[in-house]
Symmetry: C4
Subunit: 282 residues, 4 copies
């Protein structure tokens, strides 16, 4: 009977903590989101010298309060989820764990509490809370296109990496220590700063030959940004088309109908409605 009572409790907790269908579940999630944002703001403000001097105790009290609440929430999630290990090693399980551990670590390692900002990733749950199915859908189209681009972008990044290593070493030989290129790793850092068109200006070439090589690198970086952009554009167009056009005309087998189409625009035959296609084939 105790086991049955705990079972009911578990199910109730599960519906509140993991789902957002019931009023209680939704209220829980909204409060949680506000607490996450508030705790990240507190951690950020604590790092500002002038504020910490005046409000250190307030900040620390809030930090511990948030951490204890999140710890209770974490334990309840483990308890109420049917399969604790599945939750613990899921993406959100790991994020939830990393989001509480730095406060405890800060007792031993000074400054580790600033890592609490990892809590912002808990906000990824926001989509579920507000039932942003449209956002989730768009996110899937995006991530599908990015996955499809991955091989090409890996090839691209591999070539870019070889290029910055060689240019970095060349600049180290050409410019040398007195211009700020104090080692090859630092010169590679400079080559990345330059190729990506960031251009901090903390290290800059001063010899004519160095400036010439830097010019080549900048024009290359300016030009090859076109490559990942082109890749993602093409894949995004593909993913978009796939997402909207999965219906086939039963008469002429034409694919790629607009999502709002009722009739095949090639032969005029009536199309199955999208909903029917999923469940009951007429």
């Amino acid at each position: 009977m105790a086991s049955q009572g705990s079972d009911i409790l578990k199910r109730k907790l599960y519906s509140i903590i993991f789902e957002a269908e019931t009023p209680a579940g939704k209220a829980f999630d909204v409060i949680l989101l506000f607490m996450i944002v508030a705790s990240v703001v507190v951690v950020s403000l604590e790092s500002v010298v002038s504020l910490r001097r005046d409000y250190l105790h307030l900040f620390q009290a809030l930090e511990w309060a948030f951490t204890i609440l999140f710890t209770i929430e974490y334990l309840l999630r483990i308890y109420s989820s049917g399969k604790p290990l599945n939750y613990i090693f899921s993406f959100f399980g790991i994020i939830d764990f990393l989001a509480i551990i730095p406060t405890y670590l800060s007792l031993f390692i000074l400054g580790s509490q600033y890592l609490l900002v990892i809590r912002v990733f808990r906000l990824l749950r926001i989509a579920r809370v507000f039932r942003l199915t449209r956002f989730v859908n768009e996110g899937q189209v995006l991530s599908k296109a990015l996955r499809a681009s991955l091989t090409k972008i890996t090839v691209f990044l591999g070539v870019v990496l070889m290029m910055v290593i060689v240019v970095g070493a060349l600049m180290y030989v050409i410019e040398g220590r007195q211009s700020g290129y104090t080692s090859i790793p630092k010169s590679i850092y400079w080559a990345i700063v330059t190729l990506t068109t960031v251009g901090f200006g903390d290290i800059t070439p001063v010899t004519p030959l160095g400036q010439f090589l830097a010019s080549l690198l900048m024009i290359t970086g300016y030009g090859i940004i076109a490559v990942p952009t082109g890749i993602v554009s093409v894949e995004l167009a593909n993913a978009e088309r796939m997402n909207t056009n999965t219906r086939v005309c039963p008469n002429c087998h034409k694919e790629g109908h607009a999502p709002t189409a009722n009739f095949c625009d090639n032969c005029g035959y009536e199309l199955h409605r999208k909903q029917e296609a999923v469940g009951n084939p007429a």
Copy 2:
């Protein structure tokens, strides 16, 4: 009768101030545009130290002259528009109000007159003045594509925001105060400067680990610019296609059919072929 006279006056004023069909209306709008540009130039030049020293009184006289004229114009707009509240709370009504108020405020708050540059937004009326319907049309295609991209770009910006918060906090822990990363908010500012490839160089990493993390952030920023670009390209291609496919279904009047469509995909009615529409029906 007085009321009738005021009615005629109102209508006349309305046609001059709000419309650009009559010669008087067009002249009014052209003069207004020149005055807006002139007043923005005056405010800008007043802020230059060397010029203000010599011409302060001239600048202030001009500023008050423009403001008084714009105030009269604003009152006339309220008076002549049929429904004053509709105008006052419309987009242009608010802009018109904000464009005169800083001069009056400058009597109490020093320096607020520089906010007068908000007047430039009044130039958005320029399209109506020169009947730039083509520009308006292109602007609509653009804004339609941007609206369609909005959900995807919000998802993208949300992920980017989480990323700069976490990287900012990491850099604060790694580099610390002595490198210029004096607080987490400032480190987040640096992360935005770096991710967007702006790279001011006012704060730069000096430790090898910080430079390595910065390199990852730069390459990420360089690569993911492809995402919004790809999104907008695809949506713009869609909006363009919708805009140019002008065949209308003779049965249900649906617009925007694909160039290869033979039948309306809404009602299944046969469409006119594109060639026939132009001239000789075969």
Copy 3:
């Protein structure tokens, strides 16, 4: 008879100077191109302090030699072209004139000889010399796409311009003189540096509010680069399609065949060859 002799001379000169069909004409053009590049290099090197100290007389002699030769060429072009005024006020006529005048001006205005680098634009003739019809064709596709994008890009740049004016004025009010924002025009310059993601770092915000506004501007600039890119991509795809697909199937009227297609891929009917379509309709 003298007139007839001068006519023959004129025609001969014309074929050498303006055309590149005969060996003499081609030789003339190749020598000219080399002289243009050499004269730009001489002007550039003359500006280097260490080189000018040692070789000033050599540089000046070369400069005058090139200028006198280009002047003779310019006069011969005027003489041999059938309609001198047409040439003088053509694009290349103006470039040719601007390419010789700075040397003469340098007698009166010190330093004006550096404007001689405008000679590089004379290199645009290079396409004609090497019969780079393919390059010319590609250039036409490019410039066609850019012309088609012009209206949209003007709308885009107009909005960007209003934005940098308002943000510039706001930063002037927020940051003030002590941060380097010494006037509104200079703040607008900073806003352009930031929005375009150049980020020199000569002026940077130091107040938290200024850094927050700068962050918004940077993210905006990073995001809206997608707009012109999307516009040009779409127009380029259109221009490309137009360039290759002008044949229509005589049987089913399908358009948009690949340039290498011999048969309609919709109905299998034989297509007219591209050459025939231009001249003799079979």
Copy 4:
């Protein structure tokens, strides 16, 4: 017989060194890849002052060990390849040679050993080792699109080059020596830094006119990045389409038909419908 023994040895060596089909061949390649990475890391670390002070002898010993091993490998490659000259003057033959020569040169020219990082290009063999045919395929689609874009990008870069030369000379005249624009070549370097939106900030305009011209250059650079991006996007979409449309004409074996094609556009023969090709011919 000696010749026959050497022939067998040659063939065995060839299969180990040049191929990756056998276990021995694969092991050889994997070891080689690790050694390449290790040798590049050693060269990079040697350039760090603090590390060189302590481990100079270790670094030099490792450097010579790697170089001797790579030299032996290079000689074996020459020996075992059927046609030595073909290998020596092939792309990888030249890379392999350049990857060993700097160590020997460092006996005469101090610092030349840093050029050893050219060894990273030997990693391009990685694709063959892990049979990354998918990567090779994607790389071919990429390089095909880039080759197709080459003419347009050359036209684009030519115009950009003329622009930076003229703007560089103008800035030299406007800003002059005291602002850091010490010569025309250096001003051209600045113009490239600015146009590509890198913006180091080592040289920046200080006069209002110079800042105005710089603003124009920045907006131009920000806008025209759209051109190469658009070019590559369009060509990549073309290359992709060619790569994925795999239907072959049963009559003339032409590949790459559009997904909507019913007939071969080369010979007019009827194509199999896409659906039928997969499974059930209706």
